[in-house]
């Protein structure tokens, strides 16, 4: 791997760290439940990006399947919270 790509991946990780901290801040102060659900959804997106960038940096596909799991957890969590907010029950 060239030094160019290494530097680029370091910059990406720093930006993702800042974005994750901002998401956690909104999750902490968010006035109501839907704000926190939105922050949770984008925190899952940040984690997916961190996993992809680390896969490129370590040059291994070992953790690439975790992308699927995080996508499923984010989608199902958001959908369940939305259903619960709207109807008072999930199903």
């Amino acid at each position: 791997m060239s030094p160019f790509l290494t530097v680029v991946l370091k910059v990406c990780l720093a930006a993702l760290l800042v974005s994750g901290i901002l998401c956690l801040y909104r999750m902490l102060i968010g006035p109501k439940a839907a704000d926190r659900a939105v922050a949770f959804d984008s925190l899952a997106a940040v984690f997916i990006c961190v996993i992809c960038v680390l896969c490129i940096q370590w040059n291994s596909v070992l953790y690439f399947d975790a992308v699927w799991i995080l996508m499923l957890v984010g989608f199902l969590g958001s959908a369940a919270i939305a259903m619960f907010l709207e109807k008072g029950r999930v199903f």
Binding site: S2, A33, V38, D41, C49, A82, L85
Partner: protein
Amino acid sequence: MPTLAEVIVALLCLLGTFLIALTGIGLVRFPDVFCRMHAAGKAGTLGVVLVVLGATVHFAGTEQDVWMRGVLAVFFQFLTSPAATHLLARAAYVCDYPLSERTAVDELRRYLPSRPDQVFNQE
């Protein structure tokens, strides 16, 4: 000297990370929950898709099925993320979450009745 594939991977990762950072800034800066969903729904989806595509391009020639996993993950993200955002926005609207005071038009009010939030009404 970086090769062409590395330049493509770097561009995809930088663009996706930029969009994810915009999502974080929008989550903190926007006034009400629907504006925050606007930031998190669109930019978050496209950012994730670009970064996963970057990883897919990087691992494209190494193993047999890595590119397929990446492309399927992109497809799945495009399938699920708008649905989740739509469900959350509808639930927030039905639960009578407050709009920003700079909201000019609210055309949905005629079609979608809302009730006060009983489950999560506490701050």
